[in-house]
């Protein structure tokens, strides 16, 4: 905020762009763009929440998508049982996420490093299979949500523009909250525990309870993302909690940059736009080279995305955000 650095200009431009997506969509009638960016904004919330524990807390969770599913199922199941009020659905979903985070975090945080990664993955897979076995609620076919969360006429989530702005405000709110947390006493304690936990204990910090609290906060924030995602797709299925989805969230945070609050937002935008745009680009290039449409080549977009990620990990440790910071220093 202090200086007009390249990084701050890009961040500012991105936020303005995100705020204006519905305006552009309505002017051009390009509704696809708004659908895509609604999804991007929602998953950015999840990535920001993951980065609170991963980037700032040093807790690399490979099961963060579990919270997307838990919150989504809370909304879906309540809707299925005829409870459509958002005033009930949303708190229930967030509380469910908090309880799951508390229970699994209490166990997972007794381990370190690769064991922590594995145990969070294991808990997420457990929940995934719980979803698969929910026969009453569609099992692995998933559950259609016929009505979006109802806020007694105060706000109509079925309106695409309204819904987009609800998501956007949730993202901005989440980023602001995480930013406050990161710079608070609590946030410094968390970052200290990432940096040197032994020293933290030696100077008098009971690190475990702070790390666990942080884990629960991140789970609840990701739950918010899950609520929005279920409302966005009008559908919930176990696929939302698949481990590859947790992997996507990690990629967003790493790609965007784990060192800052907004890095994962950039990562979410970059990853999901590339995912959408690369197949398209491949088929255009393919047609140009071979002279005829090559539909099958579309499937290979990951072959291009993979090396790009590799380059980021190898040469740009700070992700996109880190790269932008470097431009300033020349």
């Amino acid at each position: 905020m202090k200086a007009l650095t390249v990084r701050n200009i890009v961040v500012g431009a991105l936020l303005v762009f995100l705020a204006l997506v519905p305006v552009y969509s309505q002017m051009t009638g390009n509704l696809f763009l708004m659908t895509l960016f609604t999804r991007i904004v929602i998953l950015a919330i999840a990535a920001v929440s993951l980065n609170l524990i991963m980037g700032f807390g040093g807790m690399v969770s490979f099961g963060h998508a579990a919270f997307l599913g838990i919150a989504g199922y809370a909304v879906g199941i309540l809707a299925h049982e005829g409870i459509n009020s958002g005033f009930i659905q949303w708190p229930v979903a967030l509380i469910a996420c908090a309880l799951f985070a508390l229970a699994t975090g209490a166990l997972s945080l007794r381990t370190r490093g690769v064991y922590f990664i594995m145990i969070t993955l294991a808990f997420a897979q457990m929940i995934y299979y719980v979803g698969v076995s929910l026969d009453r609620y569609g099992a692995d076919d998933g559950l259609t949500i016929y009505r979006r969360s109802d806020f007694a006429g105060l706000i109509n989530l079925s309106n695409k523009t309204t819904f987009y702005y609800v998501c956007f405000i949730c993202l901005v709110g989440t980023c602001y909250l995480v930013w406050r947390i990161v710079n608070s006493r609590f946030g410094l304690a968390i970052q200290g525990a990432r940096s040197n936990e032994r020293r933290m204990r030696a100077i008098g910090f009971p690190t475990y309870r702070y790390r666990l609290t942080c884990y629960v906060i991140a789970g609840v924030l990701c739950g918010l993302s899950g609520i929005l995602l279920a409302n966005h797709t009008d559908f919930i299925s176990p696929a939302v909690m698949h481990w590859t989805r947790s992997g996507d969230l990690i990629v967003m945070a790493v790609l965007g940059g784990m060192g800052s609050v907004l890095g994962p937002v950039m990562g979410a935008v970059a990853l999901l736009v590339l995912e959408e745009w690369l197949p398209h680009a491949i088929s255009v290039v393919g047609e140009f080279v071979t002279g005829r449409p090559v539909v099958a080549a579309k499937e290979y977009w990951a072959l291009i995305l993979g090396p790009m990620l590799l380059l980021v990990v190898l040469f740009a440790r700070g992700g996109i955000d880190g790269l932008l910071e470097k431009i300033r220093r020349g």
């Binding site: 406050r180 608070s184 410094l188 020293r199 204990r201 100077i203 008098g204 910090f205």
Partner: protein
């Protein structure tokens, strides 16, 4: 001793077949600077580990300020006023020097479940942190990242962090480790100053420093205290000379 601030009563620690601590008994009255010397592998670090709570002894008791702390976790010992510095510099590398010390202050300023206010602007944390930096002569480095200051300065910062926890007693694990002669001399000066205010248990290899600072010295060999006494008595002790000081005799005589 009735007025001992710290007493260690026969602690024993086994690692498999190795007796790292063999019935160690020590007693430190308030105000004393007690040095522990001994060859590598004598069990000095194991002893510190047990005093700070990172290692649990197999038997024996540790009494601090009249209370048995043998089973207390590390952070609670810190809360009671037992502060340590680390042999291998152990800081928060991606924080500034001032952030490091402020975190130590924060640990003793109530719980850290404060999620909103910017901790880096809280005078309640920053002022005592600045004072601790000043005390060890590091004020000019306050805003430098720890990873960018010299090794000697990092050693000073170690001490500042221990001081910032408002301790009653300091456990200093080789504060001179890896320092040049000039830096060592500065550290000795600082410790002479701190000695007036704190009870100190000093583990150190630098004999010149030990004999310049210590009120009493204990010699640890193979996990056992083979001698405790005034510096002159230790220097003259035949068993100590044979076990440990032999090769360093020249230094001792000159020192």
């Amino acid at each position: 001793m009735a007025d001992a601030l710290l007493s260690v009563e026969g602690i024993t620690k086994r690692f498999g077949g190795v007796l790292a601590s063999d019935g160690i008994t020590l007693s430190l009255p308030a105000g004393e600077l007690h040095a522990i010397i001994g060859p590598n592998g004598a069990g000095k670090t194991t002893l510190i580990g047990q005093l700070t709570g990172e290692i649990t002894p197999n038997s024996g008791r540790i009494i601090f300020d009249g209370q048995d702390i043998t089973a207390l976790p590390t952070y609670q010992r810190s809360m009671r006023g037992l502060a340590r510095s680390f042999q291998i510099t152990s800081l928060f590398a991606d924080f500034t020097a001032l952030d490091n010390v402020a975190l130590a202050v924060q640990a003793h300023a109530g719980n850290s479940f404060h999620f909103w206010r910017n901790a880096r602007t809280e005078e309640e944390l920053r002022a005592p942190a600045r004072a601790a930096l000043e005390r060890v002569g590091l004020s000019h480095r306050a805003d430098n990242l720890v990873s960018s200051i010299s090794h000697g300065e990092q050693r000073q910062l170690e001490i500042a962090m221990a001081l910032a926890t408002n301790p009653r007693m300091l456990l200093l694990d080789e504060p001179m480790a890896g320092m040049g002669p000039e830096e060592s001399a500065r550290m000795v000066k600082l410790l002479l100053e701190l000695k007036k205010q704190y009870t100190i248990l000093l583990i150190e290899h630098d004999m010149e420093a030990v004999f310049a600072l210590a009120d009493r010295i204990s010699v640890l060999v193979y996990g056992r205290v083979i001698a405790t006494g005034l510096p002159d008595a230790i220097r003259a002790n035949a068993e100590v000379r044979q076990a440990y000081l032999g090769e360093q005799e020249a230094v001792v005589v000159n020192g």
